[in-house]
Amino acid sequence: MLLSLPALHLQTSEYHPLFQLPHGRLGPWCSPTGSPAPLSCETGCGEGSWILVCRLLVPTQVSLLSMEEDIDTRKINNSFLRDHSYATEADIISTVEFNHTGELLATGDKGGRVVIFQREQESKNQVHRRGEYNVYSTFQSHEPEFDYLKSLEIEEKINKIRWLPQQNAAYFLLSTNDKTVKLWKVSERDKRPEGYNLKDEEGRLRDPATITTLRVPVLRPMDLMVEATPRRVFANAHTYHINSISVNSDYETYMSADDLRINLWNFEITNQSFNIVDIKPANMEELTEVITAAEFHPHHCNSFVYSSSKGTIRLCDMRASALCDRHSKFFEEPEDPSNRSFFSEIISSISDVKFSHSGRYIMTRDYLTVKVWDLNMENRPIETYQVHDYLRSKLCSLYENDCIFDKFECVWNGSDSVIMTGSYNNFFRMFDRNTKRDVTLEASRENSKPRAILKPRKVCVGGKRRKDEISVDSLDFSKKILHTAWHPSENIIAVAATNNLYIFQDKVN
């Protein structure tokens, strides 16, 4: 049961007039009136203006509770949950994703569960609760499987969740583990029919002899129930581990990418998929490069990009040929010879690639940097941001403990002006592309007090360490922020730290 800790109610930010409308925000998934949600004013990426909204915890001993649970049980569980050392590995959050309106926030964990949070609605009574996210639905998306042919386990860990744009009252999302993609429908039920003729209230069949009159069943309100049902299962199409899924802007197709291949699916068809990229060499001994991430262009349904372990990005056009092995554009930065080492290739491996909302830029994350590329310029990125360059001298140790293979994700904010990515020691970083300022914040229990503004953190590289700084050697490399998400239109971010989900909001005075 995931609870928002009630002690952390905070002042919500005021909404400023529309500051900037990112290109393409007007789409079928906007609010029914067609107007886009107002953007909170861009105050830059920090300068100490982020506050914790809520921290959500995934316990294991406590069974999943339904929405109708009474207050007493919640209180008991609340105190039980304060010590999150009970968390097991199954609770580790492995993916976080807002839906297109930002009303829902989905997380997947290593145990194959998906938990969806819903934003607290504005109400006159509790205006300060707006901005909080509470559990909306929880379901087991994937189960562990065993591949008998290869004698290998297939992990149930959810690698990625992607929302479909909302087209009716129900919500749809794709969730995937290493091998299988599933389409889930999440719908609400707040009425139920009563007064059947052939069945009684418990559902038992009535003796036809006792039926003397006919009646029309009526819908009566019931307690809200949120149910999740798997609508499609897209299986048996990937030999290697799926690392990405991406919904196409045509809303009819999506792609799934594994280490060596990318497949194109139609949502309606589960027994077939088209292979659109295949980089498997004829002789596996010659394998030197794998696909690490892939994404469709946000507006052009024929274009997509995929990144590789060699630090390259390829833009492909599906109109050019059925098999997009030949790229339309090839993005690669020439290597800096002064920084060359045996680890150069490993740290150049791209762990995440994301189109900007505008579709004009792509952002890539490699081990030490985040780079922004202009689609029109292939030979180098237009911006490079150092995430934790102090680790450059520690690469051997990080190679030894495998941290060098950690796959960090990166996200854009709604207006593409700020980018965010995670680091170690529960730090995460934001870079303002306009002001060129950056900030390091921490997602941890100790440093998250209600109503307080998050204090920027600083890592001391050498020499004198100031009072609030932390030295490189004191960093906890087991506390890594790999998954973050940014609300599509507001300055609300979700940060996953092991089994904790932190939601921060920009406090605007």
Binding site: K150, S151, Y240, L260, L287, T288, E345, C396, S397, F405
Partner: protein
């Protein structure tokens, strides 16, 4: 080459005033760099072994490690510090043919599974293949898992494996003073005895984690003649820890 290694890594002493980080180092600084490079190579090979786990290993990680190994080997080959087993037969692959990625990670069992019947010519050769595959230390951890790379094992790969095996021998450090054929000498016995192994001969088939690891650790036991192998003992020690846990 820059500070590619963490501080704290042991270095040879008596390097006062030497700028070991300053790119091309003089002869005195070379052992230190070589030591670090060798240590990195060993670490990488161990990592590749450990990727045979219950769950299918991470292909990206394995590819990156294998590329690192290849890069080190290339550099060592250029330096001339890469010691090569004297070729006993004609037709050995040239010096610069390096260990293929596939070989570094292919599990022994999968090779045995691919073991052809009599069509490999020498009846001993199939036995040989898995046994000798343990020598390059990438195969030490036996497991019932399939190959790291290959899901669909094919006959071509078997042939390729055989060819690559030759390459492995060439790229291996000279663990024994004897010829390569000595390595083949004991293929008949399903179990090897410790003495035979300690003298550098590797038995043929293994039957589990323990024996595979023993083959590995024992194979590294013979004292190397090159100064580059001076840290083999450390690797040996590390493997023994793995076996015991």
């Amino acid at each position: 080459m820059g500070t590619m290694f963490a501080r704290g890594l042991k270095r040879k002493s008596a390097e006062d005033g030497e700028d070991v980080e300053g790119g091309l180092a003089g002869a005195q600084a070379m052992p230190s760099y070589s030591l670090q490079r060798q240590s990195l190579l060993d670490m990488s090979l161990v990592k590749l072994q450990l990727c045979h786990m219950l769950v299918e290993p991470n292909l990206c990680r394995s590819v990156l490690i294998a590329n690192t190994v290849r890069q080190i080997q290339e550099e060592m080959a250029q330096d001339g510090t890469w010691r090569v087993v004297a070729p006993q037969a004609a037709g050995r692959a040239p010096l610069d043919r390096l260990v293929s990625t596939d070989i570094l990670c292919r599990s022994v069992r999968e090779q045995e599974g691919e073991r052809p019947g009599p069509d490999a010519g020498d009846g001993h050769t199939p036995d040989l293949v898995p046994g000798l595959a343990t020598v390059p230390s990438a195969q030490a951890l036996r497991s019932p898992q399939s190959s790291l790379w290959e899901v669909d094992s094919s006959r071509e790969n078997r042939g390729g494996f055989q060819k690559s095996l030759d390459q492995i021998f060439e790229t291996l450090e000279n663990k024994t003073s004897g010829s390569v054929e000595e390595l083949f000498a004991d293929v008949d016995s399903p179990y090897y005895d410790l003495d035979a192994v300690l003298t550098g001969m590797v038995g043929s088939t293994q039957s589990g984690h323990g024996s595979g690891l023993q083959a590995f650790s024992s194979a590294t036991a013979p004292p190397p003649s090159s100064s580059c192998r001076s840290d083999l003992g450390e690797l040996d020690h590390a493997v023994e820890i793995l076996v015991e846990t």
